[in-house]
Amino acid sequence: MPKPEILDPQGQAVANALPRLGFEGITSVRQGKHFELEVDDSVDDATLEKIAETFLANPVIEDWVVRRVEA
């Protein structure tokens, strides 16, 4: 997700479109990315964190969180 202090023009555009479509009461929209990785048991959480921090996200402008879900 873009960090709170980073401008998110895409999220703003979505927020501005919602009232036009008749959806009221949404005060803010932030747009981010979601990746689904299928991994085997040899991949530990530390490796996933490293993938997120060094490649999938740009920590200069984005916050990230890794969530492991059993299939």
Binding site: E5, L7, N58, I61
Partner: protein
């Protein structure tokens, strides 16, 4: 002596031909460098040109920074080699950590393509010494993700240390923090900017020849080194 300027081509690079032409206009020898080859071929400087490397997948520049040639560029920059990133090249240098900050979608969401006035705010870098401080130059700007963003502390540091090299004149075209169009590394050897000086080296093919000064600056830097 002949000054050798490397110009990198990634899959999706568009402006390598014009960057090489700009180097030749400055009477340098333009040396093609390939993304998959870590060999810098003994060049004196490197230009990372514009385009859409790897289709801008993931984030602009995010995949290009891991190309074999970039390991060599990062190592050479660490030893003081002048490096210039233009547009997508600027995005790549930010992703590679050679320059601070990041580029995001234009605040107006539309791709911007126009001739843009810039103010020269630092004429002590390897790529801007030919300009007078405060000079205004007209070069093309063509990008969809040209909004320069960084944390407030980083922006304060850049402003405090005079590391903003170019700033947009007039209306901010893309929502960049403080109207920042280009920045430099702490040692003034690595410069990145969103506008395209390589498209403005000859009045026949560009709005002006204002951009040529960047490549002539490099010649001074290398010859006098």
């Amino acid at each position: 002596m002949s000054v050798r300027v490397g110009v990198i081509t990634f899959p999706g690079t568009l402006d390598d031909v014009d960057a090489a032409r700009a180097a030749r206009y400055a009477e340098a020898e333009a040396v093609p460098l390939w993304h998959g080859d870590p060999d810098l071929k003994g060049v004196d400087a490197v230009i990372v040109p514009g385009g859409f490397s790897y289709g801008d997948y993931l984030r602009c520049g995010a995949i290009a920074r891991f190309a074999p040639v970039m390991d060599s560029v990062i190592e050479a920059a660490g030893k003081g080699m002048p490096v210039l990133g233009i547009c997508n090249g600027f995005q790549i240098l930010c992703e590679a950590g050679l320059l601070p900050g990041a580029l995001i979608r234009n605040s107006g969401l539309h791709f911007v393509c126009k001739d843009q006035w810039l103010k020269v705010e630092n004429n002590t870098t390897a790529w801007s010494s030919r300009y007078e401080l405060g000079a205004e130059i007209l070069v093309p700007l063509k990008s969809g993700e040209g909004g320069y963003q960084a944390t407030q502390s980083t922006v304060d540091e850049l402003e405090g240390e005079g590391r903003v090299v170019f700033r947009y004149v007039g209306d901010n075209p893309n929502g960049s923090r403080d109207g920042i169009a280009g920045v430099t590394s702490a040692n003034g050897r690595v410069v990145g900017l969103m506008p395209h000086p390589e498209h403005a080296i000859d009045a026949l093919t560009g709005p002006t020849d204002d951009g040529l000064g960047m490549f002539l600056s490099l010649m001074d830097e290398v010859v006098n080194a």
